[in-house]
Amino acid sequence: MKSLEELRAIRDRARTNVHLRKENSPDNIRVVVGMATCGIAAGARPVLTTFTDEVAKRGLQNVMVTQTGCIGLCQYEPIVEVYEPDGRVTTYVKMNPEKAVQVVNDHLVNGKVVSELTIGSIGTMK
């Protein structure tokens, strides 16, 4: 069992970083992963884990990763929506951990939408 002593050390280190995170800032990018029965069954859990891990690894202080319920497009799950401060919303569908890394790299870091993974491209491909 890891010790609470260790947690205290982590707390003290984290405290110096906490002020960098702006929880509800309008400048934040929000990444929302669908985590209803349909999403979970389609593989949303590792997608969510990949987003949180990658965002933490890169120290992206302006990105918030959150979850939502079913948005009614169960056949396209796992679905990930990216909300940007300018009001733009991108819907990524049929996600997996590899695609999630690509979205972090291209979209969240470099601001370039991965258009081949969006519902606009995949939804009409059938």
Binding site: K2, L7, A14, A41, R45, L48, T49
Partner: protein
């Protein structure tokens, strides 16, 4: 669902929606009797008797985005497929406990899977809620309680990346020790 830990993650979302402040996830394994009991207990809004009766019907849901609610039906099926049983105990205004009982030797027993990821997901995505994870294996026990963690953290949020990693490591180590208690025990 490919593994029971995903059913648990799904069922616990019902506790989130029920505005629970505390969710206790219990996993009791007996390798001699070959049984497993999984339960998700919350202190959320609870259900009326009529809602409980309806909850196992896949074509009943309180949600408006779609007409089906499969989470409980899926979970129930995983237990019944092993000759086990399933129950929901709920009191309006007090909370709900969902319990699935398995005969683990049955050929249709699904793997439990990655409970660590399920707990990490629940804890990090619902930082305002508290979770207790209790895993008992042949009488040995591992418990993680976010209330204890928050007490140490003080003003540092439980969903801070460093803390989430600590929780993941603690769960992983706790599970490993439970499986292999080592020579001194």
């Amino acid at each position: 669902m490919q593994e029971l830990s995903l059913n648990i993650l799904d069922i616990a979302q019902n506790s989130v929606r029920a505005k629970a402040s505390l969710v206790t996830i219990t996993m009791e394994e007996d390798t001699v009797e070959k049984t497993l009991r999984l339960s998700v207990a919350d202190n959320g809004c609870g259900m009326t008797e009529e809602q409980v009766a309806h909850a196992m019907d896949p074509f009943f849901t309180t949600r408006t985005t779609r007409k089906v609610g499969l989470g409980i039906s899926f979970f129930k099926l995983t237990a019944e497929a092993t000759g086990g049983s399933f129950s929901i105990d709920s009191t309006l205004g007090a909370g709900t406990t969902t319990t699935a009982f398995y005969h683990t030797g049955h050929i249709d027993m699904m793997p439990v899977g990655d409970m660590v990821s399920t707990m990490v997901t629940l804890i990090s995505m619902n930082p305002e809620m508290d979770f207790v994870y209790r895993h008992t294996l042949d009488g040995r026990q591992f418990v993680l309680d976010t209330r204890e963690i928050k007490e140490v953290l003080e003003d540092v949020p439980i969903d801070a990346p460093e803390v989430v990693q600590f929780i993941r490591d603690t769960l992983t180590e706790g599970e490993a020790e439970l499986q292999d208690p080592g020579p001194e025990e």
